[in-house]
């Protein structure tokens, strides 16, 4: 990892790039820095904290934020007194590790790489100086980024919702949407930033959590909650009393004596209203920062007129330069799940280029054979870390060491300045050997960062790595009780006693490794499935591709163009040809998966074709079974009138040149048919863009015809917004309707229809005479979803789509290892996003298939055969479906049932152990006995 780095030049070609990187000086040696924070404590220079949006201060030597990686300090050269005037140097004097290096100089690093991924992210739009909102001028107008910090428990106000001017608790708050988005007057950004509607709802809901009787209003144009589960979130916000006001706010004024913000707006009934708010939050949009534009320039990548990376819908993470990929907001505004999908997709595309070199530069470490300790008496070594002065400055470590010596089974106690340093590892190793230690306790910082290091030390001393425990006397003691050294020392004694009590009960655990069958199964031969299969085959893995129809292509066969205007059919044909000609892909048409067993690395699935069935063995599974169009039976005369179509039918009929389409003059599109309603409380994401795009084409081919789009919220998110603007320019008429006033369609004279909709501007029903009505119908899960959920024991969400492992951070993975999803089976999405997810799923699968075996943590559920009688209480409790019931017949004919744990599927969460009424199952290393021993020890003091 190279931090503080900038790319200054890229030459070469895919597979062989020369990258020149300029590394700015950190002035802190990351090898030596232990992140104790003494430097920042002693540094006299206070600087506005950018992470807290300058609401609070930091020092000139700092860690940008608590989760920063690496957790190492850096000196801000623009503000450091020593670097500017040569005086001070307090940090250098006080640093216990000697990590400060004022001589650090910029360095140029030259790298030779095969592929490049650009993910510089975005900058929030800066509304400073724009008179309308008064940001920078009125203290109580803040940006959403500032609001984010104010709401954060670790932020400058510790999560108290107070306003900047007078620190008064906020009682009335307004959010203004589309600040720096969808706006070519006050900003250069015509596009929609895609994420602000949902984040404003989130902030309003969090704010309501903080202040009970808070009145929160969101002023918006279109509420764009098009993401998975977002519509339900929107509904929940409405239920909580958050007010949504559909209007633009033309200006804000301060109320001088109170610093409140005075608001004048016109509501959707045309009434002019006035009100005041304590605090106004500007929902600022996303844009590309100058530094990212520079990066694009150096990397030789073209940006479009919105200053985002230009990419093809069919190759969504590629850039204009082969071998250079981009992901995240660099290629357009998007939310976290989409960003994470693109990240995995870019990784997949990059590793595809590098597939030939896979595993060629990896090294493995050798360890001595393990010493048998099971039957020996317990001999515990306790190593107490001073952590410079971080621990020893508060806790009386000498007293702690003397105390540790008195604890049962403790054979050795050592103290170290830095227990994590390399020489201390040798000290620990020697102590294990010389004193015959068979359990080790390190009293230091947190096992979350340092357990792996010490486990490795145990391994290299020939001791099983699980015979180890850490007492967290820094993060959870000396640092949080700094003013109470006596109490902190007592707590440290308790913590060491707890660890000693636990470690004595630990037993060696075997290392677990499962072999991997380096082949994949892709279920679903639509565009997502084909892309996944090709990506995997291009990585060199064998793929079985299962499709239930007799052709490939899925729903994409019915689509005309992507939102960028690319024709879908030729792209589909090319994919089809590549899949069929790829020697590594075995195609199973007219086939389905009938049953499956196994787990990550070792699946066995039965592929059924008519009466034949065959078993395929594979290490990873990708489910891309797609979705289907909602059939609006009986709605808006669908099925009765020959002039009412679904959007897909409309595309198809236009493609084949249907007579009705040729003769028609007027068209009405009705949005949200089957979406955003009680039965399907989700947005189908693609329909607004599709209708707008179709409307433009109709207008372009016959400008005299009239085209109406009846919508609830126009959700042309991201750069799709340009289509919406273009459609309005072309004269397409957009009429908003509310869910409680749905449009009505009536048959008129032969071949004509009348659509009635309540017009909010005219305040009266409007009747439109039209030739064709197009219904923008919902995307629904298809039947295969439920079937496969059953076969592979996978979760589905409330809407019937597959449930990902984590809505934000793991949008492609299932909770079960080795199974991934792509496309409409996950949720409604357009072609480009399906392809990104398909590539991501392939990339995630490659991470499983790349090695011939997978090493697993040994912290697993373990069945106690003497106690378990197979009552099956734990079966359905396991979230990973790792527990199964087995039974065998005894000699006397008695059936002995018990449960069995699949180690590859078990994650060691222990829900089974907390359920079992008879101690029949426990998690190795965290058994109830071991936990109770810690509790007992904690209370023994």
């Amino acid at each position: 990892m190279i931090t503080l780095a900038e790319i200054t030049d890229v030459t070469g070609e895919p597979g062989n790039f020369q990258v020149e990187v300029t590394r700015r000086p950190r002035f802190v040696d990351t090898e030596k820095c232990i992140a104790c924070g003494l430097c920042a404590e002693k540094c006299p220079k206070k600087v506005d904290d950018e992470y807290n949006e300058k609401i609070s201060k930091r020092k000139a030597v700092y860690i940008p934020y608590a989760q920063a990686v690496p957790q190492k300090y850096a000196i801000d050269a623009d503000n450091c007194i020593y670097l500017k005037s040569g005086k001070c140097g307090a940090c250098e004097k006080f640093c216990p590790a000697g990590a400060i290096n004022f001589e650090d100089k910029p360095q140029t690093v030259n790298l030779n790489v095969g592929a490049i991924i650009l993910s510089p992210g975005f900058a929030a739009f800066d509304p400073t100086g724009i008179r309308t909102w008064g940001y920078g001028e009125f203290k109580n107008v803040i940006t959403a980024m500032e609001m984010e910090r104010i709401l954060s428990a670790s932020g400058p106000t510790e999560g108290h919702l107070v306003r900047p001017s007078d620190k008064k608790e906020v009682k009335r708050i307004a959010f203004i949407q589309c600040v720096g988005s969808r706006d070519l007057n006050k900003s250069r950004n015509g596009y929609c930033s895609s994420v602000c509607c949902t984040y404003a709802i989130k902030q309003a809901m969090m704010a309501k959590d903080h202040v009970k009787d808070l009145e929160a209003s969101i002023f918006f144009m279109d509420m764009r909650t098009h993401g998975k589960e977002f519509e339900r979130y929107y509904e929940r916000a409405k239920g909580l009393g958050i007010e949504f006001k559909r209007c633009r706010v033309h200006s804000l004024e301060p109320v001088s004596e109170t610093s409140d913000i005075y608001f004048r707006y016109i509501d959707d009934c045309g009434r002019q209203l006035e009100t005041q708010y304590d605090l106004v939050v500007l929902s600022v949009g996303l844009c590309t920062p100058p530094s990212a534009m520079e990066l694009a320039y150096h990397a030789g990548v073209e940006l479009n007129e919105n200053r985002f990376v230009e990419s093809s819908s069919f190759d969504p993470v590629a850039t204009s330069r082969p071998g250079v990929f981009s992901c995240g907001a660099f290629s357009g505004p998007k939310d976290i799940p989409q960003t994470v999908m693109e990240a995995s997709a870019a990784a997949a595309d990059a590793t595809r280029l590098l597939a030939g070199a896979r595993n060629s530069l990896t090294r493995t470490k050798e360890f001595p054979p393990e010493i048998e300790v099971a039957s020996d008496e317990v001999r515990i070594g306790v190593f107490i870390c001073h952590c410079g002065t971080n621990i020893a400055g508060v806790i009386d470590v000498e007293r702690l060491a003397r105390y540790a010596e008195t604890l049962p089974n403790v054979a050795h106690v050592g103290r170290n300045l830095f227990t994590c340093s390399q020489d201390t590892q040798d000290i620990i190793k020697n102590a294990i050997r010389d004193k015959g230690l068979n359990r080790v306790v390190v009293a230091a910082c947190t096992p979350r960062t340092h357990e792996p290091l010490f486990r490795e030390t145990l391994k290299s001393a020939g001791l099983n790595e699980y015979l180890f425990d850490m007492a967290n006397i820094r993060n959870q003691d000396s640092w949080v009780h700094a003013a109470e050294p006596e109490r902190a020392t007592e707590k440290a004694m308790d913590l060491v006693r707890m660890s000693v009590a636990k470690v004595g009960l630990l037993t060696p655990l075997p290392s677990i490794s499962v072999p991997v069958n380096q082949a994949a199964l892709v279920i679903g031969g639509g565009i997502s499935g084909m892309v996944s299969a090709l990506e995997l085959a291009d990585h060199g893995f064998h793929v079985s591709l299962v499709e239930k129809a007799n052709v490939l292509g899925g729903q994409a066969r019915h689509l005309f163009r992507t939102w960028k205007g690319e024709l879908i059919e030729p792209a589909l044909q090319e994919l089809d040809a590549r899949v069929r000609s790829n020697p590594l892909i075995t195609l199973h048409l007219e086939s389905t998966v009938g049953s499956a067993e196994g787990f990550v690395g070792n699946f066995k699935s039965t592929i059924v074709r008519g009466k034949d069935s065959r078993v395929v063995e594979h290490g990873a599974t990708i489910i891309a079974t797609g979705g289907q169009g909602y059939v609006p039976e009986g709605e808006y005369l669908f099925g009765t009138s020959s002039r009412v179509f679904t959007a897909i039918e409309f595309d198809k009929l236009r493609m084949v040149g249907d007579r009705r389409m040729k003769q028609a003059k007027n068209y009405v599109f009705i949005q949200c048919v089957g979406s955003r309603c009680e039965e399907r409380m989700y947005c189908s994401r693609v329909c607004c863009t599709h209708s707008v795009q179709a409307a433009i084409e109709l207008k372009e081919s016959s400008p005299a015809g009239e085209v109406f789009v009846l919508y609830r919220d126009m959700r042309t998110y991201g750069q799709r917004e340009e289509l919406y603007r273009k459609a309005r320019e072309k004269g397409v008429v957009f009429i908003h309707y509310e869910a409680h006033q749905m449009p009505k369609v009536r048959p008129l004279e032969p071949r004509r229809l009348e659509v009635e909709v309540f017009d909010h501007i005219l305040h009266e029903p409007l009747r439109i005479v039209t030739d064709i009505v197009v219904l923008a119908t919902a995307i629904t899960p298809n039947a295969a979803t439920a079937e496969l959920a059953d076969i592979y024991k996978l979760p589905v969400d409330a809407d019937g789509f597959f449930q990902e492992a984590h809505a934000k951070l793991r949008p492609v993975d299932f909770a079960a290892d080795g199974i991934f999803m792509a496309g409409l089976a996950h949720c409604p999405k357009p072609v480009d996003e399906s392809i990104a997810q398909a590539k991501a799923a392939a990339g995630r699968a490659v991470s499983v298939l790349a090695g011939s075996s997978i090493d697993l943590e040994a912290t697993k559920a373990t069945v106690v055969n003497a106690n378990c009688d197979g009552c099956a209480m734990c079966l359905d409790v396991c979230p990973y479906k790792a527990i199964s019931l087995v039974s065998e017949e005894e000699a006397g004919g008695k059936r002995n049932a018990r449960v069995e744990v699949n180690l590859a599927q078990c994650k060691g969460c222990g829900l089974c152990q907390a359920t079992c009424p008879k101690d029949g199952i426990y998690v190795a290393g965290f058994s109830l006995e071991q936990i109770a021993a810690q509790v007992e020890a904690a209370l023994a003091g």
């Binding site: 947190t446 993060n475 060691g908 109770a932």
Partner: protein, 65 residues
């Protein structure tokens, strides 16, 4: 003498235990009365252990996760 309760906290390695670490990194100061037991998921804590903690003299038990 003022009452000094003994509190046992069962904390999940992935969230609340990490949060307690972060409280340290942020140097938040809090009363010394709590002793945290790290578990891999708060769901692995059998209610029996909670009642045992009370029987052994805990004044309060926190299960966080």
């Amino acid at each position: 003498m003022s009452f000094e309760p003994k509190i046992i906290g069962f904390t999940c390695n992935w969230c609340s235990y990490a949060a307690a670490d972060l409280a340290g990194v942020s140097r938040m100061q809090y009363p010394h009365n709590v002793r945290l037991v790290r578990v891999m998921c708060s769901g692995m804590v059998h209610p029996r252990v909670v009642s045992q903690a009370f029987e052994m003299g805990a004044d309060g038990v926190l299960v966080m996760g």
